[in-house]
Amino acid sequence: MEVVFLGVGLAPGAAELVERLRAAGHQVRTVRSAGEAVLARRSTRVDALIAVEDAAELRRRVGDVPVAVWLPSRSTERAAELLELGLDEVLDGGMGERELLARVAALTRRAPAASGAVSLGPLRIDRERGEATWHGRRLALTPREREVLLVLAEAQGATVRREALYRAVWGYAMARGDRTVDVNVKRLRNKLTAAVGAPLAIETEPAVGYRLVLAEPVVTAL
C-alpha cells in the first residue's frame, strides 16, 4: 500500500515506524510539509497518510484519503482530542508491532476505491496510468498540464476558480497576482486546440477562472 508520512524526523519512534511499514511491504514516501503531502496525493495513488504534525490541516486538504497521527507515547486524552477533530486513527509508541501494522492495514482499507480516472465525453484522464486520451488517442501533455486538465474535467463544465485550480494542482495557496495558472492553461489550451480542435475548449471566465466544455455535436439535417 502507498503510505505518505509527514514529519518523520520530528518525533521519537517515527523513523522506526517507517522502517517497520517498509519491512511489511508498504511503499512509504516521507514528506516535510502538508503542501508536499497534498502534491503527493495529487500525483500518485495514496492509500493512507500518517502525520507527526499538521494532521488537522492534512485532514482538511486531502479529501477522502484516511489520515492517522503518530504519538510517541500513549495519551488517551490526546488521542480522543485528535479523533474528535476528525482524524481517522491514532498510532502510538505504546502499541506493539503487530497492532501497529494491523491498524495501518485497516486504515488503508478505508482508502477510496482506485478508479482514478475522470471522463468528459470522449476525453478521459487516468491518474493511475498517467495519461490523458481523446477518443482513445493519447494526448501529449506534461504531468502538470494533465493535472490541470484533470481538475477542469472533474468540474464537468463548471467554472473552476484560478485559486482553487492552483491549490489542487500545485498544492499551495496562490499568491495574489501570480499568473502560473494562466500560463499553464494557455499552454494546455494551445495543445488541445492543436490535437483536438473545436470540440473541446477551455473557456475563460474573466477574473474568475476557467471551465472545460465540450462543443454541442453538430447535427446536419438531411
Binding site: G35, R167, Y172, A173, T180, V183, N184
Partner: protein, 206 residues
C-alpha cells in the same frame, strides 16, 4: 597622466546621453522579459550585453575625466553621476537575471507593474541625461522620476504584502518573488539616486 588643455566637454555630454539611452533600453527589455515569461522573446543575454555596454561607457567617462583639464562640471559630480547611472543598469541586470536563476515560470502582476514604473523612470533619466547641456527639461524629468519612485514604493509594499496574505503560499514562491520585488525596487531607487545627482549638478551649473 598628461592633462589635455583643449577642452573636449562635448564628449562628456555625449557619453552621459549614451549612458541614459543604454539604461532606458535595459529597463525596456527587462520589462518585456517580465511580461512574457516563460516564453520571453528577449533572452537575459541581451540585457547582459547592455550591462557590459554601460560598464564601457562608465569607464570611458572616467578615462575622459582623468585626461581632461577642463570639465563641464565638478569632477566629483561627474564621477558620482556616472556611478549612479551604472548602478541603475546593474540593478536592472540583476532583476532580469533572477528570472532565469530562480527558474520563474510565470509572470507576477506586481512585478510587471514595477517594471512599467522602472521603464518610465529610466525614460525620464534618459531625458535628463540628454539635456545636461543647458538643462532644458531637466527639472521636469527629476520631478517625474521622484513621482515614479513613490509609485514604485507603493507597488513594492503591496507586492511584498501579497506574498504574506495567505500562510499557505509556497515557501519557494515567497523566496523567489521577494528577491525579485526587492531587485526591481532597487533599480527604481537607483534611478532616483541618479536623478538626485543630476539635480545637484543642475543647481550648481544652471
Amino acid at each position: 597622466m598628461r592633462l589635455a588643455l583643449v577642452p573636449r566637454t562635448s564628449e562628456f555630454y555625449e557619453l552621459f546621453a549614451a549612458a541614459g539611452r543604454n539604461a532606458h533600453e535595459a529597463a525596456r527589455l527587462t520589462e518585456i522579459r517580465f511580461r512574457e515569461i516563460p516564453d520571453a522573446s528577449i533572452p537575459h543575454a541581451r540585457v547582459k550585453e547592455l550591462e557590459t555596454e554601460g560598464d564601457r561607457i562608465t569607464r570611458e567617462l572616467f578615462e575622459l575625466l582623468n585626461t581632461q583639464y577642463v570639465t563641464p562640471f565638478d569632477r566629483e559630480d561627474i564621477y558620482g553621476l556616472a556611478r549612479a547611472v551604472d548602478d541603475v543598469v546593474d540593478h536592472v541586470d540583476e532583476a532580469s537575471d533572477l528570472l532565469d536563476l530562480y527558474k520563474i515560470e510565470a509572470p507576477m502582476d506586481q512585478a510587471v507593474a514595477q517594471c512599467r514604473v522602472l521603464v518610465g523612470a529610466a525614460a525620464q533619466l534618459e531625458r535628463a541625461l540628454g539635456s545636461l547641456r543647458g538643462f532644458r527639461g531637466v527639472q521636469e524629468a527629476i520631478v517625474e522620476i521622484k513621482r515614479l519612485e513613490d509609485e514604485g514604493d507603493r507597488i513594492s509594499r503591496d507586492a511584498l504584502a501579497s506574498l504574506f496574505e495567505d500562510e499557505e503560499v509556497s515557501p519557494r514562491t515567497m523566496i523567489r518573488w521577494k528577491d525579485v520585488f526587492e531587485a526591481l525596487e532597487q533599480a527604481i531607487d537607483a534611478c532616483e539616486t541618479a536623478a538626485h545627482s543630476v539635480g545637484n549638478i543642475a543647481l550648481k551649473n544652471a
